[in-house]
Every structure is written in C-alpha cells, then in structure tokens.
Amino acid sequence: MIAFNRYYNKFNILSVSLVIISLLLLTFKGLNFGIDFKGGTLIELRSSDTKINVSSLRDNLSQMNLGDVSVKNFGNETDYLIKFENNENKNVIEEIKKNLDKSFGNNFNFRRVENVGPKVSAELLRSGVIAISVALFLMLVYIWIRFEWQFSLGAIVALFHDVIVTLGLFSLLGLEINLSIIAAVLTIVGYSMNDTVVIFDRVRENLRKYSDIKIFELTNISINETLSRTLITSITTLLALLSIFFFGGEVLKGFSLAMIFGVIFGTYSSIYIANTVLVRLNVSQKTVLREDKN
C-alpha cells in the first residue's frame, strides 16, 4: 500500500500555491483569446513556393494597413497562419489574395478563412462562460444529490482546482483559447468529476464497513484500492489524447493539449485534493450513517 496520506499537507500547499499562481496569471497576464472570442480574421495559407517564408509574408502584409498582423508557420514549413484584428473592410480577403498573387505569384492556397465580428465574439465568449458555469453548477447539484455535503465540497474544490490550474497553464504558456478549448474544459470537468466520484464511492463504502478507522487512514485505503483503476483509465485516456495530439492535425492540437493537462490534474486532484477535504472536514462513519437514516 502506498502511503498517499503522508503527503496530503505537502501537496495541499503545492495545490494552493498553484491555484494562487494561476489566478495571478489569469488576472495579470490574462488569456490569449483567439479570434473566436476576440473577433478578427484568421487565414490558413499553403504556399507552393519554398522561397516564401514567414518574414517575407509578414513584410508584405504589413504594407496592407491591416493593423497588428501575426504570421506564423502552422504545422509544416509551407503552411502559414495569418491573424489580424477585426477589420471593417468587407473585401479584405479578396484584397489580400490579390496582393499576395501580385507579390509572390499565384502560389497560394487559402485553406481556411475565419472571420468573427465583434458582436459574435462577445456572444461566443459569454456563452462559453455560461456553459462552463452551468456545467460546474450541474455537477454540484448531481454530487449534492448523490453524496453528503462534505463529499460535494471535496469534489467541487477538486473541480475548481483542475479548471483554474489548466487555464493558468494556458495563460503561462500563452496558448490560444478558442471554442475547442471550452469543449476541452467542459470535458475536463466531466472527467475530473468522474475520477473523484469513483474514489468517493469507495470512501463511502469503506466508511460504512469500518467504524474504527480514522478518515486519514481510510481515504488512503480507498485511494489504494481504486489506484489501479485510476491509473489504467488515465493511461488509456491519455493514450487516446496523445494520439489526437500527435496525429490528429493542427486544428485539434490545442484541444488535446488542454485535455492532457486536464486529465493529469484531474487524476492528481481526485487523490490529493478531494480526499484531503474529507480529512479536513473530519468525515466519519456518522456522516454517512446519518444520511442513510434519512
């Protein structure tokens, strides 16, 4: 049996600091919102001319009065991602096409064009925030129906921890937040909950079985009993996600990365956050028996 409970305090301190650092990052550095949430135009280009590079493209586009233009390689050498702030000019794509053809010859394939107006991006951001809030709320309701309040609190704390730290990591690394990241965050919410609930189920079962074991020991027993399941499921899920990350193409990179972070944090938090809340609230057999009577 691994003595997970020996490190409860240390990891609690670590998690609290991670959450604080994440919140500071989110407040002061903020998130790198993509055009879905900030508005603007995105163009994915493929050039058939190897002489063209990022800086020549950037020089060319910067003469077009598009405001702040970002040009990056995307996936491979000949693919580029161009982004700029929202532009009132309706025919901007057409003009860029003409301008590039004039300067570099007809060597470009416009693989993807996205244009999100300021009104739509504000709505998308709002509905994203609502979706995550509703998800957190529904999880809270579900766990509150299924478990005693101490358990609900533990699960929710773990959930917030996972979401905040994942977003904090995105802020730290400057990774882009777009619609698919919202989907990833929601799936993380589901996954984190799922992982916590399985361990809690066992904690509750053990609480009913043993009256003489303190919660500090009991959580440790439960974690160990469910450990191989926790690890196997995390590993298979991570195998699937790593496969998406490496082979699923550029579009799914951010999504799978967020999910990979989320699964790792979710696994960690169900062991070290959710359970320590039970320990700190001094949950005992009485807690579950009282509920059973009702």
Binding site: K90, N91, E94, N109, R111, R112, V113, E114, N115, V116, G117, K119, V120, L124, G128, I130, A131, V134, A135, L138, M139, Y142, L179, S180, I182, A183, L186, T187, V189, G190, Y191, N194, D195, V198, D201, E205, E225, T226, S228, R229, I232, T233, I235, T236, T237, L239, A240, L241, L242, S243, I244, F246, F247, G248, G249, V251, L252, F255, S256, M259
Partner: protein, 517 residues
C-alpha cells in the same frame, strides 16, 4: 448479474449486427433504403462555407416611421385635429398638438381598434408606443412592434437569400433562421465564397428615376454618385419603377455595341408606367439606381411600350450575370452584414479526415495493446467490446445521418480511451473480491454488482458535460458533444451486454480455475 437468457442473447446479437451493418453502409452501397445511409460530413471535413448574416433593421424602422409621418399627418388632417412639428430622430417620431386635441390623439393611438396603431390581440400590445408631455408626442415602436417587424423582415430576407443561393446552384445549401434578426447559411463544398458573399452583401434595391437639374423638385431630389465613382448627378426622389416591377432579367450581349448588358422585362403595371414615363420624358435622362448608386443614366430617345428594356453600364459578363441574378431574386428588405464567416477549403477538409482517421487508428491500437497486456484473456473480451462499441457508435451516427466534424472524431477517439474505464472498474473490483472469495462465479457476480454505482456515477458526469456542450456549442463543437454523448450509451451497452456476456461464457467454463483474472 451473470445470467443471460437465450432470448436476451439473441436480442443483443441482433442489435449489434444491425448497427454494424448500418455502420458498414458508409463503405458499401446498399440498395435497401434503410441501410443506405451515410454519416454527413461537417463543413470542416468536406470543405465549405459557414456564414452568419445579420439583418440591419434600422433603415427599415426609419423608413416605416418616415411613412408613418405622412399617414399620421393625413389621418388627423381629415379629422380636423391639428398636428405639427413632425421630426424623426433616433427611431422616434416627434410631433406636437394643442391642449384641445391632445386627448383625441391619445385615444386614437391607444384604442384597440386603432387604424393607425394596430393592436396585437395575442400579445396584448400595440405596434407603437406613444408618450405625451406638454402637448408634444413621442411615438416609437413598442417591444412587440419591433419583434413583429424583425420577424417579418427576417422572413422576407430568408426567402431572398434562398433565391439568390439557389440561382448560383450550390450543393444542398442549408439556410436557417437564427434569433429574430439573423440568418445562418451553410454552403457545403464551396471553396470560394467570395461571389456569394458579395451577392448577399447587396440589398439590390433598384429604382428608375429621372435625372433633374432642379433641386426644387416637388418630390425632393438627391445627389447620387455613379457606380464607378466618376461623376455624380442630381436625381429626383420620385420613383418611376422599382425592382418589384421586374418579371425577369438576363445578361445579354448587345450585338450593335458589342457590350454586355442586362435585359429586363416588366410586369403590366411596370410596363404601363415605363411607357408613360418614356413618352413624357423624351430627351430627359433616366437614372437606373442600385443601392443608392447610379449604374447608368441614359437619355430617353423613344417611347418604350413593350415593357422590356436594357441596362448598360460597362459590365463584364460576370457583373452583368450577377446583376441579372440580383434583380431576378428581388431586393432584400434590409441590408445584411456578414458577422461571422468560417470557410474551409476541400483539401484541408480531406487532410483533417486523414489526420482524424490516423489518430483514431493509432489511439485505438495503443489502447487495445495496453488492455491486452494488462488483462490477457479479459483484455481480449474488453477489446472485442471496444471494437463493437466503435462500430455501434458509428452505426448510431449513420442511422441518424448525424453530422461528423473533426472535434466529433476527437470525441470518438476520447470515447475509445474512456470506454475501457467501465470494464476496468469491474475487473479491478472482481480482483478484490477474489481475494476473499474462492468461488469464481460469486466473485464475478459481486464484482459486477458492487462496481455498478461507480460506473453509473462516472458516466453520468461525462454525459452531463456532453449535454451542456450540445446545447451551448456551435457547429464543430456540437459534433464533439454528440459523439461523446452517444459514446457513453454505446459504451454502457457493450460493457454490460457484450463484454459481460463473453465474461460469463468464459467464467462458466472455468469455474474452478485459480487466478482467473
């Protein structure tokens, strides 16, 4: 938990076979109508354009209030009620009256039988709100009035958008209302939406009006620019003909001038008016105005009584074709703005399909190998269930002809990764039970029973997340929530019926064997 009746086994087999056959119809062609279904590919996979259009209703509201000004003035004049100082500002109509007429005006506006202010019985609301203060009135659209106006302009705009898109002839366009002032257009397989965008961006409000030098024209006059921006002309506000009078418009080559023109023909009313205007206006210039810009302003040389004519204006064949198309499909009730556009080229779509399929294949193989190494014979059982899970999931998507997107493929891969969870929960539980229980059958039975709540809890949480995503998400993300959500049901089916059935068959043949799992 270990007993399966014959009937149930047959039932499970039939369901599995049914969905596997349905799934295979994506690869083969079946003559049977039920079987010949295919998963729809989302715009991100097959390539195409997604456009969200917003109707700008402000000009409509202003126009309606402008018309209302005339109506109100005439209406009260007939009733000998004095109204003066009409002014239109910020979508509100202002006017004044005197102390004696005040109540009569208010009564007229607030009566349920009002002829100038329709009352919507169903919504218990008038079209217009009126506020009176010191004998001056403020009239504006009521909340319900605005909603009605928006709904009706959305209906009209939808119709016109549909006509314009149909005229271009793209594959299976999807044109839907969104809210009460938006229209969603999905154009699969279209890799260059430039032309459609420019066609949808035009209101196509066509008018024929005389050019006048006289700014004191009784109908008023305005200075308008020519299309090419070269000159401008003063044009009367009196409308001789409008686009509504057109029956048809076609691009033609004028053999005399060797110029591309647009030929049009008019309805009866239009032909009569056109004939009258051309007979009285010989020598004058008739401006053809489209969306506030003059296309051309030819001099009238002859009376045109045939009800057909020709517009020239230095067109290319493409621009003449587009103008004819716009005129045929009619004017939009209000300008449309494209507020969101997402276009994916067909080769990126194909790349995404390839990448998604590769990721699915590799993810699937990795998970299968891991489970095989971990659980040996039960790994084989889990993997058979996993493979069937995948096939049934694809079968369900095919049966409903659901739309598969790239995030949707990610949802399938994620389902593969998470689906083994339920079997893992069961097998780990059985292992624990076997520590205290020597009888394989009893241990397996209690393993299944005791793991049930955890499995249910674990799946419900994921399902909740998927449901929220389905209702909040758009397009591609909806595809993700769909596969993730359906995946939960197919997972539970394969775990509790297929994997369990195989487990039962194996265990009942090896009742006495030690260290079974």
């Amino acid at each position: 938990m270990l007993y399966f009746s014959k009937l149930r086994i047959i039932f499970i087999t039939l369901i599995s076979v049914f969905f596997v056959i349905i799934a295979s119809s994506n690869l083969f062609k079946f003559d049977n109508k039920l079987l010949n279904k295919k998963i729809n590919l989302g715009l991100d996979l097959q390539g195409g354009s997604y456009l969200l259009l917003e109707i700008n209703n402000d000009p409509v509201i202003e126009q309606k209030l402008q018309n209302l000004t005339v109506t109100i003035r005439n209406y009260f004049k007939d009733k000998n009620i004095k109204t003066t100082n009409f002014k239109l500002l910020d979508q509100t109509l202002f006017f004044t009256s005197d102390e004696n007429s005040k109540q009569a005006i208010l009564d007229e506006f607030k009566s349920e039988e009002s002829r100038i202010n329709p009352y919507y019985q169903r919504f218990k609301s008038h079209q217009l709100d009126i506020i009176e203060e010191n004998n001056s009135f403020k009239v504006s659209y009521s909340k319900q009035g605005i909603i009605n106006l928006k709904t009706s302009s959305q209906d009209q705009a939808l119709e016109i958008v549909r006509r314009r898109i149909d005229e271009i002839g793209t594959n299976e366009p999807n044109i839907l209302k969104r809210g009460n002032d938006r229209i969603l257009v999905e154009l699969p397989g279209l890799d260059d939406p430039m032309r459609i965008k420019s066609l949808l961006g035009k209101t196509a409000n066509l008018t024929f009006r005389f050019v006048t030098n006289d700014t004191e024209d009784s109908f008023g006059a305005e200075k308008l620019l020519f299309e090419d921006g070269s000159e401008e002309a003063i044009v009367s506000k009196r409308i001789i003909l409008s686009g509504d009078n057109l029956l048809d418009a076609q691009p033609r080559m004028n053999s005399e001038t060797n110029e591309t023109v647009v030929n049009f023909s008019l309805d009866r009313v239009g032909a009569k008016r056109f004939g009258k205007a051309t007979s009285t206006g010989i020598g004058k210039r008739l401006a053809i105005v489209l969306d506030g810009k003059i296309i051309s302003a030819p001099v009238i040389r002859d009376t045109i009584a045939t009800g057909s004519g020709q517009i020239s204006g230095g067109f290319t064949f493409q621009s003449a074709t587009d103008l004819a198309l716009l005129l045929r499909s009619g004017a939009l009730p209000a300008p449309l703005n494209i507020i969101e556009e997402r276009t994916v080229g067909p080769d990126l779509g194909q790349d995404s399909i390839n990448a998604g399929m590769l990721a699915l294949l590799i993810g699937f193989i990795l998970v299968i190998l891991f489970i095989l190494v971990k659980y040996k014979i039960f790994g084989i059982i889990t993997n058979i269930a996993l493979l069937l899970n995948l096939l049934i999931l694809v079968g369900v998507l095919t049966l409903f002809e659901a739309t598969l997107t790239l995030p949707g493929i990610a949802g399938i891969i994620l389902t593969v990764g998470m689906a083994v969870d339920a079997n893992v929960l069961i097998f780990e539980r059985i292992k624990e039970e076997l520590k205290n229980e020597k009888n394989n059958l009893i241990a397996f039975d209690s393993g299944y029973t005791k793991s049930r709540t955890a499995i249910l809890d674990a799946n419900i949480t994921t399902l909740l997340a998927a449901i929220i995503l389905f209702f909040m998400g758009s397009g591609p993300i909806k595809g993700f929530s769909l596969t993730l959500g359906i995946g939960i049901f197919t997972t539970l089916f394969t775990v509790y019926f297929i994997a369990r059935l195989l487990t039962v068959l194996y265990v009942s043949k090896n009742k006495e064997k030690q260290g079974l799992i």
